[in-house]
Amino acid sequence: MNRKTGDMFANSPELGTCPRVLRPTNPPEFGDGEKVKIRAENLNLWYGDFQALIDVTMAVREKSITALIGSSGCGKSTLLRCLNRMNDLIDDVRIEGSVRVDGRDIYASAGDLPALRKKVGMVFQRPNPFPLSIYENVAFGPRVHHQAKGGELDGLVEESLRAVDLWDVLKDRLRENALKLSLEQKQRLCIARLAAVKSEVVLMDEPCSALDPYATMKIEDLMRLLKAKFTIVIVTHNMQQAARVSDETGFMLLGELVEFGATTDIFTRPRDKRTEDYITGRFG
């Protein structure tokens, strides 16, 4: 009887391909109408000898907000940067596993990196506009990609600034240096820059950590607004922020994605003891 059970398992194709019987994380099952925008599978990443990501598997639903939480150094920024291959810039980095965006493995070939980064844009911790005019900041991407020029470019700039609710405030100041803007406006401008290259995914690496609470609230409002058009993945230190804005949350600890699921579930009935400890503030 026992032997028979063993045979049965050995022949099962699903278990045969699975490295562990008990996966640490399960990609959430979405409803039929919902599309997975990004899927990371068995992602491992090393910086030299140090393993920063351990067997991470997750799925990001299209036009939703996914938050990654966890203490410093847990690998959440590293994971975020895997999604548009920004880790490629670091020497001595080794990546195994796959990340699929719209079903295509972005690590399969060195292929079209610019196209990937256009599609999967990034907003950084410090708002970092170029020391150029507001207009030129938004126009930078379209110019580099020869997407538009002249009147068409003007239209694109307006559209992009409208998308982040800056147009009405700044339409008469487009020639001013972007460095004069407030931090919150700068961060909005950085998002407008992505809108201008028609990004579909916005990766946000602690986008509010340089902002005061009021500005943070405004950016969170913007994120809810952007969700209609963009898929957003946000890394945050701020658990409340994750709880406020995100649809799905992943909790990371020491390179592992401990738990991933609907935000309400993660914050109300976490399945893993470590998640519970973190969100209740026992460590972090």
Partner: protein, 280 residues
């Protein structure tokens, strides 16, 4: 407590003194040259050919020669230097080749100028058969000034915040587009500073042009890059040591013109730089 403030004052005093020691020679050179050379300055001095075995007339051909040398050598060295610096700072990985190149650049900066002169003589004048000519002299001066341009350009590129590169790349720009649109424009003022420093050196150096271009005396102006030319620093040397009976004001007048020429070129580059800073 009082002791500490006394020490502080003493410390600052010493620092101030050191600063003054730096400034004093600069000022005294300028004052000396202005006082002794001002009398020689006239349109005739600036715009006519020398006469009477260079004891009278003007220094026009030397001014023309030096201007040629500055423009040709900068036109040669600036693009090459900037491109090399961009490669070293933006593309090169830290390996033995890069380290060797860096070492070579440092050493190039340390080579004495008369050695450049000999090098120019053997490579450009003799081996490449350019003859003693403006092109041979300008190339020699250009090679001499390359390390200055490379070093200042590289520092200017390093001063561009890393975030700009990251943003540009994250917007899907290629590495080259990032350099071209996000990095170089920010570094341009620093690069111009390098050009300014080089102009001063190129205009003032005597040894590298000694065997490669400079003529003792020429009755006519150079008409092409393969002509010999007179040059201000060499002319100054000639009238100071080789020809007796030249009025002192001529010598100081020539020095004044040399300094003035460099100043005018520097101011031009400085205005360009200021304009650019304002525009961006």
């Amino acid at each position: 407590m009082r002791n500490e403030s006394l020490k502080q004052r003493l410390g600052f005093g010493v620092l101030l003194l050191a600063t003054l020691i730096v400034v004093v020679p600069v000022l005294s050179i300028l004052v000396l040259i202005l006082l002794k050379g001002w009398g020689a300055l006239s349109w005739k001095f600036l715009l006519t050919m020398p006469r009477d075995g260079m004891r009278a007339g003007g220094i026009f051909p030397a001014i023309v020669g030096t201007t040629y040398l500055v423009f040709v050598s900068i036109a040669f060295a600036l693009p090459i230097g900037v491109m090399a610096a961009v490669y070293l700072s933006e593309y090169a990985r830290d390996n033995w080749l890069t380290r060797t190149i860096n070492l070579a650049i440092i050493n190039l900066a340390g080579v004495s100028s008369v050695v450049y002169g000999l090098f120019g003589l053997s490579l450009f004048v003799i081996f490449l058969n350019f003859g003693v000519s403006i092109i041979a002299g300008a190339l020699t001066l250009g090679i001499m000034t390359l390390p200055v341009i490379i070093t200042t350009t590289r520092e200017a590129l390093r001063a561009v915040p890393h975030a700009y590169r990251e943003v540009s790349l994250s917007l899907g720009a290629s590495r080259w587009q990032t350099v071209r649109h996000a990095v170089l424009p920010r570094a341009l003022p620093g690069i111009l500073t390098g050009a300014i420093l080089s102009i001063g050196r190129v205009a003032g150096e005597t040894a590298p042009i000694l065997f490669t271009v400079a003529a003792f005396y020429l009755p006519k102006l150079p008409t092409s890059l393969s002509d010999q030319a007179m040059a201000l620093p060499y002319h100054l040397y000639v009238i100071t040591t080789q020809i007796p009976g030249i009025p002192e004001s001529y010598r100081y007048g020539t020095a004044l013109v040399l300094i003035g020429l460099v100043l005018v070129m520097n101011i031009t580059a400085g205005v360009l730089r200021a304009r650019y800073r304002k525009k961006r």
